[in-house]
């Protein structure tokens, strides 16, 4: 009937059309053209499918860095939280699995990266964060970077300009325990340093900020003996300086510890840490100077009201509790914090902070060009 006839008519026309070479040429040409065009667009806009491979942790960590940190391990997997914006916490972790047969589900190495804003109001990070990231073993990244690294920890503050706010926003990297910090492993430290710098650069890109940090320089191509020699020399010099207290009238019993101390006491970064003793020994303490003015804010609450007041002139404020003293003052670089903390000791040793802290503040303030600073410990 009419409908059928029309249907047949369409089919016939379609068939004729399909038989027609022009139709084929047209279709093929359009397809070829589309592929060419799409390729061209992809190439010009950097969105080709094979350039889409994102690197772990917000497209940040390079294979070179992960190879440095996870040498010997097998396949790697990364997991990351979505970035919400500067200042919001986000975590990422990279797991490397064992290469051994039958144990390929065992995690052989694990790197944890966190970006977060440090707490400057409650003083919580003055304790928790500084215990982990301003501890013995961490040395400045160098090259003007506001961060530090050891073989198991590293951190880097994002540029103020990029995070829009006073509170420091830091990238943290953790790998393994912190109880082997006395091992000399420049390669591992270099890997940790690269990890935080690469992550920070990735975040700068994600947040739409100008500029990218230069990567830290690789450890000098020294063999292990020479490397160890160098570190020993540095430790020797630091030890001779007694955490900067050489020449100060340090009571005899504390001088013994200070002479054994002084690993990683390196100048020229956001903070300098002079640690002594060991968590498993009878005594453990550290002396810290925080020079970075933003980072100093982390200690403000504690300095203002974290314990009986350390008195000074109008120059600064501080607080003292058994085993810990904090003093904040204004130097040429802005707010500076001095911290002394003892974390282990026998009964008789707990005078360390009380005795040494005033000497330490005086010596360090002098070194930083903001002396004289004379602090008086409160009576207890």
């Amino acid at each position: 009937m009419t409908v059928q006839g029309t249907g047949a008519d369409v089919r016939t026309r379609l068939r004729r059309l399909l038989r027609h070479r022009t139709t084929w040429a047209l279709t093929a040409a359009t397809l070829v053209g589309a592929v060419l065009g799409a390729g061209l667009v992809g190439w010009r806009t950097g969105t080709l499918p094979w350039s889409q491979e994102l690197r772990p942790c917000w497209d940040s960590l390079s294979d070179e860095t992960l190879d440095t940190l996870m040498a010997g391990a097998g396949r790697r997997e990364a997991e990351e939280q979505k970035l919400l914006g500067p200042g919001w916490t986000a975590r990422c972790r990279v797991l490397a699995y064992s290469r051994e047969e039958h144990r390929q589900d065992d995690v052989a190495a694990r790197l944890d990266i966190t970006v977060r804003t440090l707490d400057t109001l409650s003083g919580r990070d003055a304790h928790a964060w500084s215990a982990e990231f301003l501890s013995t073993g961490l040395t400045p990244l160098g090259g003007g970077l506001r961060g530090m690294a050891s073989r198991s920890r590293a951190w880097l503050a994002l540029p103020q300009q990029c995070v829009d706010g006073e509170d420091p926003v830091v990238v943290e990297a953790r790998m393994g325990n912190q109880d082997k910090e006395d091992l000399i492993s420049p390669e591992r430290r270099y890997g940790m340093a690269r990890a935080v710098v690469e992550t920070a650069n990735g975040l700068l890109g994600a947040y739409g900020c100008t500029g990218r940090h230069r990567l830290p320089r690789p450890p000098r191509d020294l063999d292990e003996d020479a490397q160890e020699e160098r570190e020993k020399k540095r430790d020797g010099a630091a030890r001779a300086a007694l955490c900067g207290l050489a020449g100060a009238p340090v009571p005899q019993e504390h001088g013994t510890w200070l002479r054994r101390a002084a690993r990683n006491w390196v100048d020229g970064g956001p903070a300098r840490v002079c640690g002594m003793g060991h968590p498993h020994a009878d005594f453990e303490a550290r002396l810290v100077t925080v020079v970075d003015p933003e980072l100093s804010l982390v200690f403000r609450a504690e300095a203002l009201g974290g314990g009986p007041e350390i008195s000074d002139s109008e120059l600064g404020r501080g607080a003292f509790t058994t085993g810990r003293a904090v003093f904040m003052t204004r130097c040429q670089t802005g707010d500076v914090v001095f911290l002394a903390e003892q974390t282990h000791g026998k009964d008789s040793d707990w005078t360390f902070v009380r005795d040494v802290f005033p000497l330490y503040v005086a010596a360090e303030a002098d070194r930083l060009g903001c002396g004289p600073q004379k602090v008086t410990m409160p009576k207890t």
Partner: protein
């Protein structure tokens, strides 16, 4: 699909003419397809073919300025520039101005920059004025160790010694208004590289800026802390006219330290009350060439750990207000800063 309006040939007709026509038609179709897909792709990814314009002797490309302003900013704006002839070896001077203005509505200026390439002035008054403006406390030392400083409204780069004219350093300066110091720094370095090429004194390794600014100036009310800019020995009597003071200061390792004290009051407006500078690299120190020297003249040159270092204060500010006296305040500035940068001789020769 248009553009394929070739003459129809009958199917199966294999004349040479028909083949040629068909081939031509195929080519046309491929081109049309490619064009269409490209257009769709470009539209979808919001990319438009870039205009190849550039400003200030070709130093600033439009796409670059667009990048500095944030993507797509130039769609609703227009950039215009006026420029003198570029600097040459025979005449190593030049100025240039670029303004990015909104196309519609208020025709607001989004960014406006005036650039100058040339020798640092010989006239003492002009020279001091230049130092006061471009090394004000609000300027942060350039990243990546470059010899200069930048703020959102001013920037200065000291060029290598090869560009010196008559024993004075040549600089590139920018003044104007940009989003932040990073934008200024990028414009500054690009212009410097172009200008040095034209003037024939470009170094083998051209200066580049890649790192972000990690250290920025800080400002505080004064006298909130008794020591101006946190520097021991920097003490003054009551400020003139009871004006409120603002200290703006920055320390950039051993390279540069600036301490500015500005007043701002309803009656007197704003202006400088004190200006102290430590410059610790050869090129930054060269900016002070030509000033009378000595503590009494508020300029001391010394060597710190092998680095030529200059301590400078603008002499005509806060006169008679130093405690105990002006010269002692300057000497203490020198000593305190020397201590910080590990130069224990206190800046003595």
């Amino acid at each position: 699909m248009t553009g394929v309006n070739g003459e129809r040939t009958e199917d199966g007709e294999r004349t040479g003419d028909g083949l040629r026509r068909r081939r031509r038609r195929t080519v046309a179709v491929v081109v049309a397809g490619a064009l269409l897909a490209t257009a769709v792709g470009l539209w979808a990814t919001d990319t438009r073919p870039s205009r190849a314009d550039s400003y200030c002797w070709g130093a600033w490309q439009e796409h670059e300025i667009e990048g500095l302003l944030g993507g797509g900013a130039l769609d609703d704006a227009v950039a215009v520039s006026t420029e003198s002839p570029p600097p040459t070896a025979a005449h190593p001077e030049g100025t240039c101005e670029m303004t990015v203005r909104e196309k519609s509505g208020t025709e607001r200026d989004i960014m406006s920059v005036t650039a100058a390439y040339g020798r640092f002035p010989a006239d003492e008054h002009e020279h001091r004025e230049r130092i006061a403006r471009y090394l004000h406390g609000s300027a942060a030392a350039l990243p990546d160790g470059l010899d200069g400083a930048a703020s959102p409204d001013h920037a200065l780069l000291v060029l290598p010694a090869a560009c010196d004219v008559g024993g004075r350093p040549t600089t590139v300066t920018l003044s104007g208004e940009a989003r932040d110091e990073s934008v200024m720094a990028r414009l500054l370095v690009d212009l410097a590289n172009t200008a040095m090429e034209k003037a024939g004194c470009a170094p083998d390794a051209p200066p580049t800026v890649t790192s972000p600014f990690t250290e920025l100036p800080r400002s505080d009310r004064y006298p909130h802390y008794p020591r101006l800019c946190g520097i021991p020995g920097m003490a003054f009597d009551k400020l003139p006219g009871g004006a409120g003071g603002v200290e703006i200061t920055g320390t950039y390792g051993n390279r540069l330290q600036i301490c500015s004290l500005d007043f701002s009051s309803r009656s007197a407006g704003t202006g400088a009350m004190a200006h102290y500078v430590m410059a610790g690299t050869p090129r930054l120190a060269a900016l002070f060439t030509g000033f009378p020297e000595g503590p009494g003249r508020r300029l001391v040159r010394t060597t710190c750990d092998g680095r030529p270092t200059v301590f400078y204060a603008q002499p005509d500010l806060l006169t008679g207000r130093g405690v105990p006296d002006d010269e002692t305040v300057f000497t203490r500035f020198r000593q305190s800063v020397s201590k910080r940068v590990g130069c224990d001789d206190g800046g003595e020769r």
